[in-house]
Amino acid sequence: MKRIAFLSVLVAALFALLPLFAGDFYINLGSQIMIAAVFALSFNLLVGYAGLTSLGQAAFLGLAAYLSAWLTTRAGLGHGPAALLSILGTILVAAGFGLIALRASGLGFLMITLALSQVLWGLAYRWVSVTNGDNGMTRLSRPQPLGISIDSAASFYWFSLIVTLISFILIAIFVRSAFGDSVTGTRDQSRRMSALGYNVWLIRWITFIYAGFWGGIAGLLYVYYNKYIHPTSLSITTSAEGILGVIAGGSGTLVGPIIGAALVTFLKNYVSSYLERWNMLLGFVFLIIVVVMPDGIVPGLHRLQAMWRARK
């Protein structure tokens, strides 16, 4: 664990150098990658570690974002209290959604998480008086943590780098803890875990809430970065991008989702510059990854590495 913490701080320090070499476009791309990374990490807690495939994580990203936007603009709260309340609200909703979704498992769970997040999406579209519907909520501001402005591309980049580093380390600690071991146990043999004495439902519910928490953190980063929030943040496309990052990078690993998220973000940015057909490309990438490389890139690389060693 200490090794992971040390290595991740090192890598983060390396990435912190980016603004010294690159222009705003790449710095912003870096920020977007980190938001996607935190989101993918939150997704991975469910998909990779708990073995619960959800298609509704966008609900927590969008919810936290909307809550923050509404609390700072309509309720006139400062960013500090707004962030706190937004995350609290997201956790409560995650607890509620988890109670409902965990009545089922497997595909039933998946459909319920999807239906629940679509309900929030529909709410964001229709409840125009609160959310401004399809126009979204604009002209939002970024917080000033410790009084420091994060309005410039570079300063926001460093802010999100720190947040991403902290989330990575905390999630790594969680995953390697005794509780984390019980989570992967429920993924692999849930009946056996029950028989051994683990409360499988409670383990899953706690993990669901924790994943919702990190989805909410990603949501705050998202709304601070864009200074704007729109119902698409709650859409199935957002969830799809998140889960694609996880499966492309390799679920069940700590680093895989980050790499996958980076790839998806790169792809999205390049495609947007040339075509408008991101959705279609996303669909094709899904097909290719699922059919050709179902384990994702990181395990794929491990396998290549093992094959290479065997040849020598």
Binding site: I100, L107, G108, A115, G122, F286, V291
Partner: protein, 288 residues
């Protein structure tokens, strides 16, 4: 009074459309254990096929357009099933993600081909004038739509209960291993059922045209409704899909009319209540 009656009829019409959508989804899930997230896109694709055909060839008969679109979507569904889904037969998660990917492709393709503006579908000529019952004027088409849904329900029921194909489907839903052991060609059965489900959805898209028209995002609007119907009614149950569709039709229509902002939330309350007490849905057999 007029309000309640009109909204009730709208509810029944929506319920009928939802049944056309949800029945296919439920069959596919029940038999093939695939949560076909492309289903909304099939509905939309059918709607676009029909709408554009009727726009380009105004002499075309509405019903022929509906059936033709249904067949076209069924064919596309069949190709998809054979080329892609079959390769992932041991990976239910992969299948679901692939259907998600395909739905994105189809919805974007529709945007490319037909543009961003909705294409209206005119009500068939014979049904434009209102029908008078009990002193009230009812939009005729909506009455017809309800009737069609009932006909479809009866036809599906007959298919399942009286034909060999239906017997094979029921056997597969009940016990896949046994069905294989008895020698039934599962792969053909799967393709047939997938085509059937897709086709009904596609036809439903056209039949819904006069009410909903064909527009980008129709798939995203319809899919969650289908999901909620199936979760509530129970997977693999035709009766569940029927009752669930009309229940949701009523709740959504009245909810939208009375509390337009919160219509989606109102939808989700019956789903929560049902899941809390019966996780397998009202009529589902397997625990979900």
């Amino acid at each position: 009074m007029q309000f309640w009656i009109i909204q009730s009829l709208n509810s029944l019409a929506l319920g009928g459309l939802l049944f056309l959508l949800a029945s296919g989804f439920s069959l596919i899930f029940g038999l093939m254990r695939i949560a076909n997230l492309t289903h909304g896109a099939f509905f939309m694709l059918g709607a676009y096929f029909g709408a554009s055909a009727l726009r380009s060839y105004p002499w075309l008969n509405f019903w022929i357009a509906a059936i033709g679109s249904g067949l076209a979507v069924a064919a596309i569904g069949g190709v998809l099933e054979r080329l892609v889904l079959r390769r992932l037969s041991e990976k239910p998660l992969g299948q679901v993600l692939v259907t998600l990917g395909i739905s994105f492709i189809i919805s974007d393709a529709c945007l490319v081909v037909w543009g961003g503006d909705p294409i209206p579908v005119s009500t068939p000529a014979l049904m434009r004038s209102p029908t008078f019952l009990f002193g009230f004027a009812f939009p005729t088409y909506r009455l017809v739509l309800v009737g069609l849904a009932v006909v479809a329900a009866v036809a599906l029921y007959a298919l399942l209960d009286w034909t060999r194909l239906g017997a094979m489907i029921r056997a597969g839903v009940d016990d896949m291993q046994m069905t294989r052991a008895v020698g039934i060609r599962i792969s053909r059965l799967f393709t047939a059922v997938f085509c059937l489900g897709a086709g009904i959805a596609g036809m439903g898209g056209v039949l819904g045209g006069p009410i909903l028209s064909a527009y980008p995002g129709l798939d995203a609007d319809m899919l969650p409704l289908a999901l909620i119907v199936v979760i509530l009614g129970g997977v693999g149950s035709l009766v569940g899909a029927f009752i669930g569709s009309f229940l949701i039709g009523f709740i959504y229509t009245f909810g939208s009319a009375l509390f337009p902002d919160l219509a989606y939330v109102i939808l989700f309350l019956p789903m929560i209540i049902v899941i809390a007490f019966r996780p397998q849905g009202l009529f589902g057999r397997r625990p979900a």
